[in-house]
């Protein structure tokens, strides 16, 4: 029903566009000069169609359920029900009206369900009537108003600006909403687990929290030595460090090769090929690390008399590094290519060789962009989940030995949230706390990156 109404309104919009334009053409044919192109007259009418429809629809969406509920519950007033019971009654009658109710059907509920249905259908038909009459009234009003010298261009431009503004606002508000939900859950978490224990504790053992029966009272003392985040922070940075050790040199060098040495033909094929690496799903990298690289390293280690865990930080970090190579190489290739040719010419004309030119002129000029690409890579490494979950183990060891298994923030969030989740439980809230800290870390990283790049830019531009 709503879909049909919506389609109809869209059609009305097109029709009003058509009429607006037609009226403009009619005015034009009387040799009067218009203040805007005929299309603007069309858009103007279409907006007069869209705005009332939008306003009525949103008002309806906000108020309809509340009003229906009030009307139904008014039957039960003065009968001594508690608020919770009233809510339950309402939900029951709603469910019954949809045929999804499985409990005992009392005549009361049945009556309410019928009333609910009839109210809904009244609401629905009055919505149709009100929306359509409002649209027709407003379009007719606007249609009568437009003349050769009416201003249509400005309202249309303003409307477009408002639409674009709303889109960006939606993006920003979503981010803010996510951050706030993180913050509140994190605060709840730290009400049970002291912040100090979380930041400086060296034992991360969330399995301990799995034991609690949710009917038991919450006893903070049972969580001592459970949520100490040092090992997983260390693991996160350690694995990211290994990944960057692989990705920075290879990515940067291949970027320089592509930008400066490769012939057009080689570049044409090599660049998309490298970028394919970025298109491989991380889960594929994950089992590549877990099933191929991990066991290979273990065998290699054994043959050299080293003890290597099958799930080692080295395997996960190394494969993660390979995953990040295309980001660094492709971005640094772009920034190096965008260094003006005049600088290269200037350097060559001084008798510098290609490598001298790259080292002394091009690299410094491209450095802000290169630093940016590296920091983007670091953010990827810290936020990467799948490879770590599959290849580096889930036990949070505090170690700096790349051959042992270790775990990261992201992997632990997965461990915590897999399976049943109980809201309000420290176990679940721990995931929010971890998410929050991850967010803070990447935020700081980005701020530092921007600062570095800006400072460098100021120096040379």
């Amino acid at each position: 029903m709503n879909l049909i109404l919506f389609t109809f309104i869209v059609l009305l919009g097109f029709t009003s566009y058509y009429f607006g334009r037609k009226k403009a053409y009619t005015i034009q044919s009387t040799k009067k000069r218009l203040t805007a192109l005929p299309q603007f007259y069309g858009y103007y009418l279409a907006i007069w169609c869209a705005i009332p429809a939008f306003i009525i629809f949103s008002l309806w969406a906000i108020f309809e359920p509340t009003i229906v509920k009030l009307l139904i519950l008014s039957d039960y007033s003065n009968q001594g029900y508690l608020d919770d019971e009233l809510n339950l009654l309402y939900e029951k009658s709603k469910a019954l009206s949809r045929g999804q109710f499985t409990g005992e059907i009392t005549p009361f509920i049945e009556a309410s369900a019928e009333k609910y249905l009839s109210l809904r259908s009244i609401a629905q038909s009055s919505k149709v009537v009100i929306v359509l009459s409002a649209i027709i009234a407003s379009v007719a009003y606007a249609y009568k108003r437009i003349s050769s010298n009416s201003r249509t261009r400005e309202p249309v431009e303003k409307f477009l600006k408002a639409v674009l503004f709303t889109a960006s606002l939606a993006a920003i508000l979503t981010t803010v909403g996510i951050v706030f939900s993180l913050i509140f859950q994190t605060i709840d978490f730290f009400k049970v687990i002291p912040l100090f224990d979380f930041v400086f504790g060296t034992h991360w053992y969330p399995a301990k929290a799995f034991v609690r029966d949710s009917s038991e009272a919450l006893d903070p003392t049972m969580y001592s030595d459970t949520f100490g985040a040092v090992p997983i922070f260390a693991g996160t940075f350690f694995i990211a460090f290994i990944a960057m050790c692989v990705a920075i040199p290879i990515g940067l060098m291949s970027g320089i090769y592509l930008a400066e040495y490769a012939s057009t033909k080689v570049r044409q094929y090599a660049k998309p090929l490298i970028e394919i690496l970025a298109g491989i799903p991380t889960v594929v990298y994950g089992f590549f690390a877990a099933l191929t690289v991990g066991p290979f390293l273990k065998e290699l280690g054994t043959s050299m008399g080293l003890e290597v865990s099958a799930e080692s930080a080295l395997a996960a970090g190394g494969v993660m590094g390979i995953m990040i190579i295309p980001f660094i190489s492709s971005l640094s290739d772009d920034v190096i290519t965008s260094v003006p040719q005049s600088l290269r010419d200037g350097s060559y004309a001084m008798g510098a060789t290609k490598s001298e030119t790259i080292k002394r002129v091009i690299f410094p000029a491209a450095l802000p962009g290169i630093v940016g690409s590296i920091l983007l890579g670091v953010s990827r490494a810290i936020g990467e989940t799948m490879i770590v979950v599959m290849a580096s183990g889930l036990a949070a060891n505090l170690t700096l030995n790349p051959l042992e298994s270790t775990s990261t923030i992201t992997a632990q969030i997965v461990v915590i949230l897999i399976g049943d989740q109980a809201f309000g439980d420290p176990k679940t809230q721990a995931a929010f706390a971890l998410g929050m800290s991850l967010f803070l870390v990447t935020l700081c990283l980005n701020i530092v990156a921007l600062r570095v790049v800006k400072k460098y830019r100021e120096k040379y531009e």
Partner: protein, 251 residues
């Protein structure tokens, strides 16, 4: 005395021929101006003289270019040494994104010309003095070169070019991005520089060619139509095309 002798130089961009049979002698310690309408090949010819066309993949150069009687198109020619001897200044000032000092010391550093910091300081100072920039920038040598005005940037590029004491300086429309005052400063500088260097300048401004040069070559559609002393070219050219171009009837 003849410094550079070009013999039957042809230049191709891919299959398209850009220069046809150019033969031109360039006098030592004089300013030679190359004039002609846009796309006539004068910049291409200039770039042949320090083998800058090597940078362009599809470009190939045929013929002999003798500098001090040595053919620079020969396989045995070391481009690094060649460009040390033949400096170049470009149309748009292109200082490196480094400090003033580093800009000027760039050439001497890569050619290993200074044994000590003191020696390098001296080279930087004399180069900037010769480029008539020293007085303006001596207090801010360690600020970025890109912070200077357009005319100062171009003089910085000249200082950079002369820092390695080249025998020849190639200038590719060095004033086309500058205002009249900066242009006058550069022209004055060119006059000064010709005492120690041979200068070849490509210019669009005939007034500039007449002001700064002793010899002029006129290019048209990839051919050298006429060359000779600037006086003769401007007052009494042999070729009708030259006459028309000089008097502004085409181009």
């Amino acid at each position: 005395m003849i410094k550079i002798k070009a013999k039957d130089v042809d230049v191709f961009y891919g299959k398209k021929q850009a220069l046809f049979n150019i033969s031109l002698d360039i006098e030592e310690n004089q300013v030679t101006a190359l004039i002609g309408p846009s796309g006539c090949g004068k910049s291409t010819f200039l770039r042949c003289l320090n083998r800058m066309n090597d940078v362009i993949d599809i470009c190939s150069v045929k013929g002999e270019i003798l500098i001090n009687d040595f053919n620079i198109n020969d396989k045995s020619c070391d481009v690094v040494r060649l460009r040390e001897k033949i400096g170049m200044v470009f149309q748009k000032p292109n200082p490196f994104p480094k400090t003033l000092y580093e800009n000027v010391s760039y050439g001497p550093t890569i050619h290993g010309m200074a044994q000590s910091k003191q020696e390098m300081d001296e080279i930087v100072e004399t180069s900037l003095k010769k480029a008539a920039l020293w007085e303006e920038v001596k207090d801010r040598l360690h600020e970025p070169g890109t912070g200077l005005s357009g005319g100062q940037q171009q003089r910085l590029c000249i200082a950079r070019a002369i820092s390695v004491r080249p025998e020849v300086i190639l200038m590719d429309e060095p004033c086309s991005a500058l205002d009249p005052i900066a242009t006058a400063q550069i022209e004055e500088l060119i006059d000064e520089l010709k005492k120690e260097h041979t200068i070849i300048i490509v210019t669009h401004s005939m007034a500039q060619a007449a002001r700064v040069s002793q010899n002029t070559g006129f290019f048209h559609l990839g051919q050298l139509i006429e060359h000779g002393s600037t006086d003769k070219i401007f007052k009494n050219p042999d070729n009708k095309k030259t006459q028309d171009y000089i008097t502004g009837r085409f181009g």
